[in-house]
Symmetry: C2
DNA sequence: TCTAACTCATTACCTTTGCTAAAGGCCAGT
DNA sequence: ACTGGCCTTTAGCAAAGGTAATGAGTTAGA
């Protein structure tokens, strides 16, 4: 099957072993490499979903509601660093699934508080485990040193991400 | 303007200072935190583009073409860990901008080799600098220790991302 | 008090970016 | 010369984000 080798006819591809990413010595190099790695890793994570599982946003929003209690749509959007209309859509999906409910605020009737339901809490734990299964598995394949590096860098990533 | 405080009426929000994300002690916790951080950081990076700049994918594809020379669409897609149809669209965009050209392979006329043009090379350097400006700036605001943690973790992130 | 300006959520619509399925052209082995 | 397989592309779908405009509710000032 010659088809698989055709690129060698036209592409230089001098050192087959040197396929790794560039080495970031400068600060701009670090930024560039980090940008690429984060983009690809995010794509891979996003694709690891089974058909009936919640989307990343649904899961993330439920997590916040679980940790912080009921929140207005706008604040929930701010937590996720997205705009209110986007959060409205996510909340609508959650409400249709019965995982969250909208409750008009008693004090200021412009705001709609979103609360996670018991079904939502039950679903979150199970779903998060499935959702993270791929990544957890990948982490298990790392060396302890590599895991430690990730753990050490995580707060920095979160800082860059705006918490 | 009391409107901004309304959430305090309904949300617990006991400790204002404890707004940081959960501490990942377990491996699943690490996976979860990493997933969320990577997702948000990616979103922030992606949004830092000026109107006339290339998209992340266009920039990334051009970078590969610049480093590796002309490649068939399918291989280019494999490098980016995306499917061929997605790469077709990216290449079409680049071709419209005159930054890359499609060249039917001489040997196997099913494959279309993609080559970066001189205009593409010129554009890449300038654009990448602008593109990374935000992240570079953020990196500059970190402490040397934080930067070092990122640098140490970068190879691990790249490994997880599949290079 | 009553009106003007503001705020919150939502609706409507658009964009980007990925996917799968299927079509069309091309290659190779039987 | 078929038949099956491979590479690209087209067509259509879904997720996830955005802006602009609308409607309802609130606040502040004349």
């Amino acid at each position: 099957m010659p088809a698989a080798k055709i690129s060698q006819n036209t592409a230089p591809q001098s050192q087959p072993a040197r396929s790794g990413p560039a080495q970031p010595r400068t600060q701009a190099g670090l930024a560039s490499s980090l940008r690429i790695a984060v983009g690809r890793l995010n794509r891979r994570i996003r694709n690891q979903r089974e058909d009936d599982s919640l989307t990343l946003n649904q899961l993330s929003a439920l997590g916040i509601l679980e940790r912080k209690g009921p929140l207005p749509v706008g604040e929930l959007a701010a937590c996720e660093r997205i705009r209110p209309p986007s959060m409205t859509r996510i909340v609508s999906g959650l409400e249709e699934l019965g995982l969250a409910v909208r409750e008009p605020d008693q004090v200021d009737r412009r705001v709609i508080n979103v609360r996670i339901t018991d079904a939502g809490k039950a679903r979150t734990a199970a779903d998060r485990k499935r959702r993270d299964a791929w990544l957890t598995h990948k982490l298990r394949d790392l060396t302890p040193d590599e895991r430690e590096r990730l753990r050490a860098a995580l707060p920095v990533l979160e800082k860059l991400a705006g918490l």
